[in-house]
Every structure is written in C-alpha cells, then in structure tokens.
C-alpha cells in the first residue's frame, strides 16, 4: 500500500498492458478471419498442401501475429497519445479566466491539489461552459493531463466541496486510471461500433462467419465488462484518496449528494467517455436502483453507496446529511431543480440547447416528439412537425400566454413598421447556433400575420422556439389574434 501520492504515481500501471494484449488479440482475430476468408475464396494454392484451415500453416500464423502486433502498437499509440486535447476540444472546454473570481478560486484549488500530491507533473484545469453538473479527468500517454469541470457544478459547490471533487479527479490522473480509461475508451468505442456493423451484416449471411469472429465478439464484450469493473471499483478508491488528501469526508459526501439530487447533464459529454466523469452523464434511475444486473452493467457505482461509505467515516447517516443540508438556504434551489426533472421526463438526445448547452430531452408535446431544454424551456422542432403542432388543439392556454402574445406581436409590429419607415435594419442581435449543424440560425418572424420571432436553420430544417414562443404562436393561430395596428 503506497503511503504518499508520489509513490502512487511511481507505480507502473500494469493494467494498461492488459488492455494492450486484448487489443493485440483482437487484431489477431481480425487478421485471421480475413486470411481464412481469403483462403476459402481462392483455395488453389492450398489444395496442394492438403489443408484449407489456417492453423495447419504455422508460418502464416506467425506472419499474422507480427502484423497484428505492429497494427496494435500503432493503434495504441495514436489512440492514446493526443487524447487530452481531442477530448477537451470535443467537449468544448476552455481554460479558466484568471480575472473571474470563481475561476481564480478554481485555479487556486488546483494549486493546492498540486501541493498535497507533491507531484511535479502539472494538471491543467479547464472549464466546460455548460449548466450541467459533472467533472471529467483525462490523461494521455504523453503525460498531459487535465481536469475539466462544468460551470454548473463549479457554481454550486462550496470551496471545500470543489476541493474534494478536484482531489477525486486528481487521484484518477495520478493513479493512471485515466490513462487506462482513455485508452479503453478509444479502443472499445471504435470496436463496439464496428461490431454493430458486423452483426448487421451477419444477420443476412451468418453461415460465412469464422469462429474467430465469435472470439472477437466475446473479447469486445469481455473488455467492456472488464472496463466497467475497473471503473466502478476505482470510484471508491478515488473517493478514499480524496478524503486522504483533504481530510474532509463530509465535503465529498455533500458534493456527491448535490450531484445525486440534481439531474446531471449529459449530451455535452458524449457517450464513450463517461468512464472519465465523476458521475455517469447518462445516469438515469437505473443507476440508483439496487438490482444486481443493473449494478453490474453500469460504469459507476451507485452514488448513494458512495455517500454512505463516506459518511461512515464521520459517523453520520444519510438522514443527518439531508437534514444538515436542508437547513441551509441551498435547499431552495434544489427543490426547483428536482421539479424540473419531474416535469420533463424524456430521453436525452444528441442536440444541445443553444443557450444552456445542456442536452435537450426528447419528449412529447401535443402528442408529437419534440426536443425540449429542461433549463430554459426552449423547444426544438423539426419543420415538418410545426403544422401538426399548430393544428392540434390539446392544450389550453393560460391568460398569461394570451396577453403576453398580444403584447409581443404589438411590439414586433411597431418595430417592423419603424424598420419599414426608416428603411434601416433592426439591430442585429447575436445569432444562436443550430443545435445540429452549429451554423447560425436565422432569426425571423413566423409569418407577417403572426409576428412571433423564431430561430430557423434552413440547412437542417429545424426551428428553435424560446420559452413560451411556441405556445404564443399556437395561441395566436388558434384564437386568430393578429396585430391590431393597421398600417
């Protein structure tokens, strides 16, 4: 058992080599399948030697082994060496702004973590401009490492809680977990996708498959389960390490509780790197249920269990913690957030809300599927669905929407009239980016009869309605309210 973090860092991470061997085996299987297939197609040469099967030709096996070794090494190096930058770009993380007080605090805390770990290797800290709550640690073979934390989480944690979370992530980096996870992710993400393709081909022509394919399939599945086990066990270890660094189990428990209570963001952090996060971004109810199978198949242990372990160190129960936290004013904001979760139940989608950068939930609205942001209540609709929404009259509109709609169109008409009179453009506001193609969306009126401003992407045929805009539009059309001023 290493005593200091310096020693942890020195330990060679032998598990990475296991991953390498799994990769090697996988390449070997692929190569063997290919060569064997080739032999079946062109059997001329081998009819002479009397055997069609490759394992009767040791020299071929050797060649395949060498080739797969080279391929595996190349793959391994490329997938793991530039990971930090690519992951950070992928999730849109930016370096903290030293002028900003909260960011400055984060940078200070990062320095403190360096002191406590006593390591020379610098860990970068980054900010993810998202309202979701998560933190992620990445490390690669070149020795770069970074911890990124979302604005949402950063703003809700106290100083000591941030410290605990960063210490947790720093342990992942120091112990080499991160590197492993980065490697595992880049390897298995790719192969899982390939496997899906292969399976769909195999459905049509299953008879042509070589046994090596099944070995390959088993290996991929096994390594997925293996990486899950690694990931789950090390969350506990990182919690423990965080406590050892900060000597403050309570803060860690509080931070975890905050993560548990507030629905974590997803989407932004693409699937495949969830192993690197402090809590699984795809977390649903499933992760908190105690079933054996669910327990086995999730990448993170149930947070409740982690909190229980931490609280045992300070002789508290979860109830005590709840009572303690509820007595503070923070409780108010939590209840607000838990309401949000109940209201919009739906599956997460790949689209991000253009203003909150939180992934949109696919849920039903007027009996059709739309994407809604649960923070700002903006709604993203495919253009073909707009007529349906307008035609359906399931909803009753509150007086508020009606009067708001009237006010808005009156105002818009006035602006439009002024614009026409003076022949100048309305001041161009900042344009929001299309959630799908990231190009700026057009800000236009729905029509000149119904002057509600909407954002439209003409490339993807998507329309973004901000909060109430869709309802106002529907209300206007149903009640046939048009602008009153006639020019």
């Amino acid at each position: 058992m290493p005593i200091t973090f310096i020693e942890i860092e020195k330990q060679k991470t032998w598990r990475i080599s296991i991953l390498f061997f799994v990769l090697l085996l996988m390449y070997f299987c692929i190569a063997m399948t290919l060569v064997q297939g080739f032999l079946f197609l062109f059997p001329i040469h081998f009819i002479k030697t009397g055997s069609l099967f490759i394992w009767n030709h040791p020299s071929y096996l050797l060649t395949i082994a060498v080739i797969s070794l080279v391929l595996a090494a190349i793959h391994f190096w490329f997938s793991a060496s530039g990971a930090v930058r690519s992951v950070m770009n992928n999730i849109g993380a930016t370096p903290p702004d030293p002028e900003d007080e909260i960011h400055k605090r984060l940078m200070n805390i990062m320095d403190e973590i360096h002191v406590v770990t006593g390591t020379v290797k610098k860990i970068k800290c980054m900010i993810i401009p998202s309202l979701s709550m998560n933190a992620i640690a990445v490390a690669d073979l070149r020795g770069n490492s970074a911890i990124a934390i979302t604005e949402g989480l950063l703003s809700r944690l106290t100083r000591s809680q941030t410290e605990a979370v960063l210490a947790h992530e720093a342990y992942h980096i120091l112990s080499g977990d991160c590197m492993e996870a980065t490697v595992a992710t880049s390897l298995f993400g790719m192969y899982a996708a390939m496997l899906d393709k292969l399976q769909s081909i195999g459905d049509e022509d299953r008879s042509g498959l070589h046994p090596a394919f099944f070995l390959f399939w088993i290996l991929v599945k096994l390594s997925q389960i293996l990486s899950m086990f690694i990931s789950r066990e090390r969350e506990y270890r990182a919690d423990a390490a965080s406590v050892r660094m900060t000597r403050d189990p309570l803060s860690m428990a509080e931070a975890l509780r905050l993560l548990l209570r507030n629905w974590s963001g997803s989407g932004l952090i693409g699937s495949g790197i969830e192993m690197l996060c402090i809590i699984n971004p795809q977390a649903t109810e499933r992760d908190e249920s105690k079933g054996f199978w669910e327990d086995l198949m999730s990448t993170h242990p149930p947070i409740r269990k982690r909190i229980e372990i931490l609280l045992r160190m300070v002789h508290m129960s979860i109830k005590d913690l709840d009572a303690k936290v509820n007595s503070k004013s923070e409780a108010v904001d939590m209840s607000v957030f838990s309401n949000h979760i109940k209201q919009t139940s739906g599956e997460t989608s790949a689209f991000l809300c253009p203003s909150c950068r939180q992934s949109l939930l696919r849920g039903s609205y007027e009996k059709t599927k739309v994407y809604q942001c649960k923070f700002c209540y903006g709604i993203l609709v495919e253009d073909i669905k707009i007529p349906r929404l307008i035609a359906r009259r399931e909803r009753n509109y509150a007086e508020r929407i009606k009067s708001l709609a009237q006010a808005v169109i009156a105002d818009n008409q006035k602006r439009l009239a002024l614009k026409n009179l003076k022949n100048t453009d309305i001041k161009t506001k900042h344009l929001i980016a299309c959630p799908k193609c990231k190009n700026p969306m057009f800000r236009t009126f729905y029509s000149f009869a119904y002057l509600i401003e909407i954002d439209r992407c003409n490339l993807c045929n998507l329309t973004w309605f901000e909060q109430d805009e869709l309802e106002m539009l529907q209300c206007l059309i149903e009640n046939k309210i048009t602008a009153r001023i006639n020019l």
């Binding site: 005593i3 605090r105 200070n108 805390i109 002191v115 406590v116 770990t117 006593g118 100083r159 410290e163």
Partner: protein, 187 residues
C-alpha cells in the same frame, strides 16, 4: 572455487548496500523538498497578512485587538527558529486568522470590497496549501523514519549516518498551555 563464491557474495552484498543507500537518499531528498514547499507557503502567508491587516484596519476600528493579535502572532511565527516552536507559532497564527475571518463576516462592507475578498481567497488558499504540504511532509517523515528503523535498512542508515527528520507539529504538551491564554478573550 571458494574464492569465486566469496567474490560473488561480496558483490551481492555491495549491490544490496547500493540499492538501499540510493533508496534512502531519494527518500531524504523528497522529504527535504516537501519541507521547502511548506517554507514557501509560510513565507507567502507572512507576506499576505500585513496587506490584509492594512486594508481591513480602516473598516474595523472596534476590532483593534483582534488585528493586533494577528500582527503579533505573525511576528512570533516569523522569528521562531526551532521546528517545534515554528509549528506552534504557525498553529496560533492559523487560529487567530480564522478568528479574524469570522469577525470579518460581520462587516458587510468588507464583503463587498473586491480587494479584501481577493486577499481573503489568497490567504485561504495559502492556508490550505500549508495544511496540505504539512500533511505531505509529515507523511514523508514518517515514511523515512520507518525506513531508518526497519531491520536490514537500519544497518546501512547507521553506517552512512542518516538522521531522522523532525515532524512539523507542535507537541501536545506545549500546545495546551499558551493556547488557552489567547483563545477565550477575543469576542
């Protein structure tokens, strides 16, 4: 034949000595380095305190003695020489500073002052760093002491005159007496 065996044994012995000696040296250097870390942070704290006091002074006329305590505790910490005295003086300084921060909570003017908030954040960060580097140093000292005492290593340690390091902590006996004298009267 016997000669060869003798040579082989001597070579193995020498190798063993070299390995252990190198291990001890690297541990010693780590410990020294971590002590330097503490020293840097302590110095930083000593530099920050006068700034904070001078900014806060104008607002906190009524808390003159709290401020004075901070200043005098700083001075004492600055001139402590022995490790134990130093640790003790720094402990006192931490406590007094904690009290100052608590008192500052009562002054909304200070909370809205950006300068004060920055200084407070810097000091908090430095305090944490001190605590952490102290943790690290003490862990390393413990580690090194164990190495010096366990069986085969202690022979080499004695041979090359390795010394134990002192822990950076005030001893319990020292701690209890003067602390009582400062703590109660502040509010």
């Amino acid at each position: 034949m016997a000669g060869w065996i003798l040579i082989a044994i001597t070579a193995l012995l020498l190798l063993w000595i070299v390995v252990i000696y190198n291990k001890l040296v690297s541990l010693r250097n780590e410990t020294i380095n971590s002590w330097k870390q503490i020293d840097v942070q302590l110095k930083r704290r000593h530099d920050l305190i006068p700034n904070l006091v001078s900014v806060v002074k104008g607002y906190m006329e009524f808390e003159r003695d709290t401020l004075e305590k901070v200043t005098s505790a700083r001075a004492r910490a600055l001139y402590a020489v022995r490790m134990r005295d130093k640790a003790f003086a720094e402990d006192v300084l931490t406590q007094v500073l904690g009290r100052l921060f608590a008192v500052m909570e009562n002054y909304p003017v200070l909370k809205s002052n950006e300068n004060v908030m920055q200084l407070q954040e810097e000091l908090t960060s430095t305090e944490n760093k001190i605590a952490f580097s102290r943790q690290l140093y003490n862990d390393l000292v413990a580690n090194f002491s164990t190495k010096l005492e366990v069986f085969p290593d202690n022979i080499i340690a004695a041979l090359f005159a390795f010394h134990k390091f002192e822990y950076f902590s005030a001893e319990e006996a020292d701690k209890s007496i003067p602390l009582a004298d400062i703590s109660i009267r502040s509010k």
